[in-house]
Amino acid sequence: MAFLETIGGSTVDGLAYLGSLARLTGRASRAVFIEPFRGRKLGIGRAVHQAMSVGVEAIPIVSLISFFVGIILALQGAYQLRKLGALQLVASAVVLVITRELGPLMTAIIVIGRSGSAFAAEIGTMKVNEELDALETMALDPIHFLVAPKFLAMLLMLPCLTTWGDFMSVCGGGTFGVAFAGFTWTSYFHATLDALVLRDVVTGLLKSLLFAVVITAVGCQEGIATGLGAEEVGRSTTEAVVKSIFLVICVDLIFTAIFYFAGPR
């Protein structure tokens, strides 16, 4: 009986958490998309600053990881394709898996580690130092002031980073292809472009938009819900990363299933 209670309680808590994320996303979206037209300016300077740290500063690590993932994927693909005498398909194998799945997912996980944790830590520390209260006493809504610029920055930067990561992965695959599979750089890129369908790129970018929403909402929500004390900031940062990864995978699963069942046969 107690076991059922635990399951029931956890389910209710989980749904309440999703509700709080939805509420936060709603308020942030209103601050970004609606209120500027009602005269309530969004801090563009703050958004640009966030875009720099979320996007531009992530380029080196995203490039490196995506490049290596491209090589790994090509190696793994080639391992099987070689047996079928179809090594020339390695280019299309890499680009399809990357654009549809691994590119958006790997980039999101990197950004969770860099920025999702940073959002939680920054806002959590502000909570502990009463800075969020100070904002309220100055008639500044913390959602409008802190969350909305991060939201806008993430929505713009994550798809861009994903696209760049996709390109670096293709380069990684190409490195393998040129070195060990008889491609030239030109033939590899031709084979890649032949295999690439707009739909694959678009689904990948749509996923990255949804991931952007999840990462910002979870990071900021964990920050806002931080309890008192330095230990709590550490805890909420960890929670932000773990919950973001889990929810990103869930969103990925749902979305991929929708595209599978609703797409053209």
């Binding site: 520390t125 009463e130 800075e131 209260d133 100055m138 008639a139 500044l140 002031f145």
Partner: protein
């Protein structure tokens, strides 16, 4: 008209209190922290809220500043029932109030100047050069001239408090809240903060509410004082009335008489939550 006649006439016109609290109750979850307290603060008055740790004084200040929602009662600020207002109306009233937090609560990612400028930048349409002048003025008023470009981490404890006061003064508020202004400061620096509060009182006639348990500061700056104990007001009067009071709780507080030794967990919990209400005055 002499100055006193003139000010009497003015106070007849605006005779409603600046802040009026009636039967205020505040809960944290299931626990009631404030058990229906009532008091008034007149315009231009300095009220000191005294109380021990866990008495509810910080909860009271936070509720008056709009950071906590009461579970019952009224908080009237300049005649308006603050908790019942819409967010927009609350924001309008918030612009007339300023709060200085215990640790300063300066934004670490901004310089001192940017901290003070923030309410002006976000809430007014003033141009940058005007804002710059006002920032310099405010920092001057608190004795921090020339510190605009410093980061909060480069300031001492006393300087952080001063910077926080400058930020609270940015919008020329009519009401100022101070949460433990002397906490963590040595007596000399704390005396400096007291002088600052007195200066604000004399120069700007702001209504000031101070939460503190530093008795020396309290008696220096207060026009009136209230003592909160376990969520109830047990004394309300002028500093002279407090000094003369024979009320046991007041005497214990002023004469620094320690609590009886707590001998068990039940006693400790009762002491903290005040489940046995203190005798009424």
């Amino acid at each position: 008209m002499t100055k006193t006649e003139h000010s009497t006439a003015a106070s007849d016109i605006t005779s409603q209190p600046s802040i009026s609290v009636r039967d205020l109750r505040v809960n944290y979850g299931e626990r009631e922290i404030l058990h229906g307290i009532s008091f008034d603060v007149q315009a231009g008055e300095t009220l000191v809220i005294l109380g021990g740790s866990g008495s509810g004084k910080s909860t009271l200040l936070r509720t008056l500043a709009g950071l906590e929602q009461p579970s019952g009662g009224e908080v009237r600020i300049q005649g308006l029932n603050f908790p019942a207002l819409s967010e927009r109306e609350k924001d309008e009233l918030r612009l007339k109030m300023g709060m200085s937090f215990q640790s300063g609560a300066l934004f670490g990612s901004m310089t001192v100047g940017e901290n003070v400028a923030l309410p002006l930048r976000e809430n007014t349409a003033l141009d940058e050069s005007t804002i710059e002048i006002m920032v310099r003025l405010k920092l001057d008023q608190v004795g921090l001239s020339g510190f605009e470009r410093y980061a909060p981490s480069q300031l001492s404890g006393g300087m952080k408090k001063r910077a926080a006061v400058a930020r609270a003064l940015a919008m020329d508020p009519e009401i100022l809240f101070f949460d433990e202004p002397s906490a963590g400061l040595d007596p000399i620096i704390a005396a400096g903060i007291d002088q600052l509060i007195l200066k604000l009182k004399e120069a700007f006639k702001i209504t000031i509410l101070v939460v503190t348990h530093e008795l020396a500061s309290a008696f220096l700056i207060a026009d009136r004082m209230i003592l909160i104990d376990k969520g109830n007001i047990v004394a309300n009067g002028t500093p002279a009335e407090f000094r003369a009071s024979q009320q046991p709780r007041v005497r214990q507080f002023l004469d620094r008489i320690p609590e009886a030794e707590v001998t068990g967990e039940i006693d400790y919990l009762q002491m903290l939550t005040g489940e046995i209400p203190p005798p009424r005055r």
